[in-house]
């Protein structure tokens, strides 16, 4: 029950906001209500966490009702370690986003209520998608997130917003509709073997035949690869990120795009293990291309927001690489990466969003020397940037290294090429930092004033988590591990064993804990 309440809370909040009178000039009531609702959601998700038993790899807190009997669709929700991680990410990020978006200059200030209402709607739908254990329900929520995001980009974005919004929607819709074909196919296959059911637990054991399985897998994968986005299906993201407000961008990249990678693990791998295995060489290749390509493109950008979008292409490459390497190490890394990338990209988008709004331009060349007048801002930018380039000690490093280390055990070339990404990441972040923050103060950059207390308050939780999880990722990993192990064993895979086991494998210094480590 608590999961339903969790997902329903932001939706209800969105409805309240939509009905709230358009009130005062600063729209403070709407903002406060939005923040309040998101904090209540956060509290609820912490309650979920409190009830969650991390050592169990299966679905917990489940709920199941028949929804559309004719389709075999259920309203079925539940969380496993992967889902609970992303639920937590979503509920943590949304209050941050809302707080950071208080002063967003909207094209039409009258739309403030709608702005925050749509945000909450995205949160509710995304939470639903993470918690759904029924393919039909998942699909519906997955696709439904498009609408609020579409309005968020199209109504509240930059000058070229409608182009970006349409591109975003159509691109994602193409993927989503291909997935619809696969969803329909699942129904047909499932109903041929008795009563149709979209429940994950039923579909997992479905025998579909090789060709059907591959086709359906491709349908699912098309949607997720566009959403995540995987090269060469990424071109909607830079445009959308460029035009959207920072808050929208964070929602899009940090939360909603994660449904893509989440879907790959939860749906693609669970439903189509053999097809996933069949496609993995191609997907790994594309992921590696994404990593390098995204990073190189990021280096070549002059627009900060496009730059961050391309860094995300690169990072999503890592996530997908880890998933399709099929080792529990890399997959746990990927899952953690989703969480960490959410945080670091949120910090990056939000702090650059503040910079851009003060400067009135997103061109890197319009900045320069800002560090002098806004040291805290530059510090936050640097820290967010360093987390994006996976500096050890910050959260993304752990996940990136797990992905690489896991991948290395099955494919040395993929891991080696992907490792190139760490140099390129240093380049794109540091070049951006160098051009915006250092050197003499650029003539037009006078207006880029220091972060205000509210902005600091919004960014602090993200920064704290980025640092904290860099050293103590274990609380999250301990929830992820059992779930990932379940997926990997469903795939019929196991991690390659070390070729030359060390003679003192459990050396005295790590003996006490090393034993817990083995699964």
């Amino acid at each position: 029950m608590i999961l339903s309440i969790l997902a329903a809370t932001p939706i209800a909040g969105a409805l309240v906001l939509a009905l709230l009178p358009r009130g005062t000039s600063n729209h403070l009531p709407a903002k406060v209500v939005a923040l309040g609702v998101s904090l209540v959601t956060l509290a609820l998700s912490l309650a979920v966490l409190a009830q969650y038993e991390p050592s169990d790899g299966g679905y917990q807190l489940t709920e199941q009702h028949t929804w559309i009997k004719a389709f075999g669709a259920h309203y079925a929700v539940g969380v496993n370690g992967i889902a609970v991680t992303l639920v937590l990410l979503t509920t943590i990020l949304v209050p941050i986003i809302i707080l950071a978006s208080f002063d967003d200059r909207l094209p039409d200030p009258k739309g403030t209520n709608a702005y925050f209402a749509w945000m909450l709607a995205v949160e509710g739908l995304a939470l639903g998608a993470f918690m759904a254990t029924d393919a039909f329900l998942f699909y519906v929520l997955f696709e439904a997130t498009l609408i609020p995001l579409y309005f968020l980009i199209g109504t509240f974005g930059g000058p070229n917003r409608s182009y970006a919004a349409v591109k975003f929607l159509i691109y994602n819709l193409v993927g989503g509709l291909l997935m619809l074909a696969a969803i329909v196919g699942l129904y047909v296959v499932s109903s041929r073997q008795g009563d149709a059911s979209y429940l994950l637990s039923d579909l997992k054991n479905l025998d579909m035949g090789q060709n059907t399985e591959r086709l359906l897998f491709l349908g699912f994968m098309a949607a997720f690869a566009i959403k995540a986005p995987l090269w060469p299906l990424h071109t909607w993201l830079p445009d959308a990120a460029k035009e959207a407000t920072p808050g929208t961008s964070v929602l899009m990249v940090s939360v909603v795009d994660k449904i893509g990678t989440f879907g790959m693990i939860t749906w693609c791998l669970n439903l189509f293990p053999e097809a996933a295995d069949w496609a993995s060489p191609v997907i790994i290749t594309l992921a590696v291309v994404s990593i390098v390509y995204g990073a190189l493109l990021a280096i070549g950008q002059d627009d900060i927001r496009r730059l961050i979008a391309f860094t995300s292409v690169s990072h999503f490459g890592f996530i997908i690489l880890g998933i399709f390497a099929f080792t529990s190490t890399s997959m746990a890394g990927s899952t953690l990466y989703m969480f960490n990338h959410g945080l670091s990209t949120a910090a990056l988008f939000l702090v650059t969003g503040i910079m851009v709004s003060r400067r009135g331009s997103a061109r890197i060349s319009d900045f320069g020397g800002v560090q002098k007048i806004a040291p805290i801002m530059s510090g936050v930018l640097l820290l967010a940037g360093l987390s994006s380039l996976s500096l050890p000690g910050l959260a993304p490093f752990v996940s990136e290294f797990l992905v690489l280390a896991g991948t290395f055990t099955v494919s040395i070339p993929a891991a080696a090429v992907a490792t190139l990404g760490i140099v390129l990441a240093a380049l794109y972040i540091l070049i951006m930092y160098q051009r915006t923050m250092t050197g003499p103060l650029a003539p037009g950059a006078m207006g880029v004033t220091e972060l205000r207390p509210r902005e600091i308050a919004a960014l602090t939780p993200a920064i704290m988590l980025i640092i904290g999880l860099g050293f103590f990722p274990q609380p999250v990993l301990s929830a992820i591990n059992p779930a990932v192990d379940t997926v990997v064993s469903h795939l019929g895979k196991s991690d390659p064993t070390p070729k030359t086991p060390t003679p003192i494998a459990e050396s005295s210094d790590q003996a006490p804990t090393a034993e817990e480590g083995g699964h």
Binding site: K167, Y171, P232, H234, T235, L296, L297, I299, Q301, S328, T329, S330, M331, A332, G333, G369, Q371, P392, G393, V398, F401, L402, L404, A405, G406, F408, T409, I412, A415, T419, L420, I422, V423, L427, L430, Q434, T438, G439, P440, F471, P473, Q474, L477, S478, N481, D485, D495, P498, T500, T502, P503, A505, S507, S508, D509, T513, A514, E516, G517, H519
Partner: protein, 625 residues
């Protein structure tokens, strides 16, 4: 007691974090907190060292695991630290020299409004460097490795308003990242091969691994070491890094961080012991860098860059020694420590000179400073004697041992090392002459003066260490001390007795000194750097850092830039062009398809009629075909 080793790291880390977070009100005393933290760490380091000495020779490796850092799938990493003979020495060096440099910085940075942050970064550096040397797992080592890289980045670019500083900082980080590829891949390989990246476990397993594995591991680690220690081919960042404040150059880019590569090789001795190829590669890298650094040192007029060239060269010695295997590890570490003393000493001296010369770094504008800055001159002089290897100063002992070991390995390697010693003597003498001895060349408005006490006391301390650092070799103490860590060396009989070799070395050094004196006392030194075309090819290449930057530009930077531009174009016109092109085609199709909708009812009827015909024919065709 030894379990408290984590405090070594925690103290400066906490102090650094505190200084960063604490607001402006801590500006007045922030530097004191920072210095105190470093000093506290040093005191603890001494206490721990004494405790370690009290342990039996075989019980001196003390491991502690704080918590499980990462545990996912089959990957397991403890946040573990090892305090043993090797790391104990490093702890002392880092915290000792570090504390002196903190003290020095109080004076040097006195007028900088961001001094508090400077000390915060210094503290962070110390914490990271200690993490690096205390790490019990390669991944923890990597954490420190990148931590010092970050601190280095922040400190090189400390004066961010200078574009050159910001560029140098970025360059240092990026070049180091290239090395990090090696480190990262090495750790992945360890994980894949041995199922762990704990240093002890890997070293224990390395002898059992295949040649391919150990060679790959060795070469990958060497790549990492090259980045961090500015060894050829990743040397280019170090000279640019001199943009940072001088205490930074002294601490990070002379005494400690840049030697991390050497530490890495020594720490991974089992891997290198198992691979001949990797060892040879280390020797080659060391030898090439040794000579290249010395060459550059001869040609630079910027005092810090000349010293930086020297640093490269000296680290080349250490690398070379490390590449010699068990025969050289101890001497590599020994030279590392003595170098830490005298090079930090000289860098701080250079800083003191700059302090008195209004931050001018061009030696051509110096001259005759010995009278104006007696303490600086005296301490610098001790460092000078140490580095060129005049007995009985610290550098003599360490360098002598390395050259001796090099001859034990291979005649040519030995000759190279010997040549390096001569060149070292040459460029250091040149530096001394241009700065302190020759006639004064400074401009009217500059008033050289001795630095305040807070800066000279550390100089005196370091000078003393430079003078007496050789005591570590007394009775082969350091060799025996490190033996449990790096293994026992077979003694090689040289073709000539050791004492003869020592004499030869000293003679070569003397030749270098004399050559420099002859060269630079013969005629007055020009007040400005002569134009490129008026100097020898040798000098020109040295000035241009042997064209390393140009080479990087041509081989890496420009191709990457072009590739990036090409890809940006491709992304817009190719991939996105395909997408938008498809949309455009559909738009065209739409226009085309609406054409038949003419508004004439007869044409509609015709279309229908045609449709009827087609449907009828289709049905017939399907069935009858």
């Amino acid at each position: 007691m030894l379990d408290l080793q984590w405090l070594l790291i925690a103290i400066p880390l906490a102090s650094g974090a505190l200084l960063l977070v604490w607001g402006k009100e801590s500006d007045r005393f922030g530097h004191l907190i920072g210095t105190a933290a470093s000093a506290a760490s040093f005191v603890l380091g001494v206490v721990l060292f004494v405790t370690l000495m009290g342990e039996g020779a075989d019980d001196r490796s003390h491991a502690v695991s704080l918590f499980t850092w990462i545990d996912a799938g089959t990957f397991h990493v403890e946040m573990s630290f090892v305090y043993d003979q090797l790391s104990a020495l490093f702890v002392l060096l880092i915290t000792g020299v570090g504390t002196l440099i903190h003290v020095y910085s109080i004076g040097y940075m006195a007028h900088d409004e961001r001094r508090r942050r400077f000390f915060a970064f210094l503290n962070l550096f110390v914490a990271a460097m200690l993490t690096l040397v205390l790490a019990g797992d390669y991944l923890v080592l990597f954490l420190g490795w990148e931590g010092v890289g970050l601190a280095s980045y922040l400190l090189i670019g400390f004066w961010q308003h200078k574009p050159s500083a910001a560029a140098a900082a970025k360059k240092a980080f990026v070049v180091n990242r290239v090395g990090d590829i090696g480190m990262a891949l090495a750790i992945m390989l360890m994980f894949a091969q041995f199922g762990t990246s704990a240093i002890a476990a890997v070293n224990a397993a390395a002898p059992g691994a295949t040649d391919t594995v150990t060679t790959s591991l060795g070469l990958l680690l060497l790549l990492g070491a090259c980045g961090k220690s500015a060894q050829v081919p990743l040397q280019s960042w170090l000279l640019d890094a001199m943009e940072g404040p001088t205490p930074v150059s002294a601490l990070i880019h002379a005494a400690t961080m840049v030697t991390a590569g050497v530490y890495l090789v020594v720490r991974s001795n089992a891997i290198f012991d198992a691979s001949e190829v990797a060892r040879t590669a280390v020797i080659i890298v060391g030898l090439v860098t040794l000579l290249a650094g010395a060459w550059i040192g001869c040609a630079k007029d910027d005092i810090k860059k000349a010293l930086a060239g020297s640093t490269m060269s000296q680290i080349g010695y250490m690398m070379l020694a490390a590449g010699l295997g068990p025969a050289g590890y101890a001497f590599a570490v020994f030279h590392l420590i003595t170098h830490g003393f005298f090079k930090a000493n000289m860098f701080l001296g250079a800083g003191s000179v700059m302090h008195g010369m209004d931050d001018d770094v061009d030696m051509r504008h110096y001259g005759g400073l010995r009278t104006m800055m007696p303490v600086t001159f005296a301490t610098f002089g001790l460092g000078y004697l140490a580095i060129i290897g005049v007995p009985p100063f610290a550098g003599f002992w360490s360098k002598d041992k390395i050259i001796e070991a090099a001859f034990g390995q291979n005649l040519w390697v030995g000759l190279g090392a010997l040549l390096g010693a001569g060149v070292t003597a040459f460029y250091m003498t040149r530096l001394m002459i241009m700065t302190f001895l020759s006639e004064k060349r400074w401009r009217e408005d500059v008033h050289p003066h001795e630095s305040p006490r807070v800066m000279t006391w550390p100089l005196i301390g370091l000078a003393a260490l430079s003078a007496v650092g050789g005591v570590l070799l007394l009775g082969d103490w350091i060799v025996e001390w490190l033996e449990p860590v790096v293994g026992h060396a077979e003694h090689h009989e040289l073709a000539v007795p050791a004492i003869v070799l020592t004499l030869i070395i000293t003679a070569v050094v003397a030749v270098g000194v004399v050559a420099a004196v002859a060269f630079y006392r013969r005629e007055p030194i020009a007040g400005e750097t002569p134009a490129d075309d008026s100097v020898s090819l040798f000098a020109r290449a040295g000035r241009h850092e042997l064209y390393g930057n140009e080479l990087n530009d041509a081989l890496v930077v420009r191709p990457t830039t072009h590739l990036t531009r090409l890809l940006v174009w491709f992304d817009g016109k190719g991939i996105d062009g395909f997408v938008t092109g498809t949309a455009d085609r559909l738009g065209d199709t739409s226009q085309l398809l609406r054409k038949p909708q003419t508004g004439y009812v007869r044409s509609y009827a015709l279309m229908m009629f045609a449709g009827v015909a087609i449907v009828v024919l289709c049905l017939l065709a399907v069935t009858l075909a």
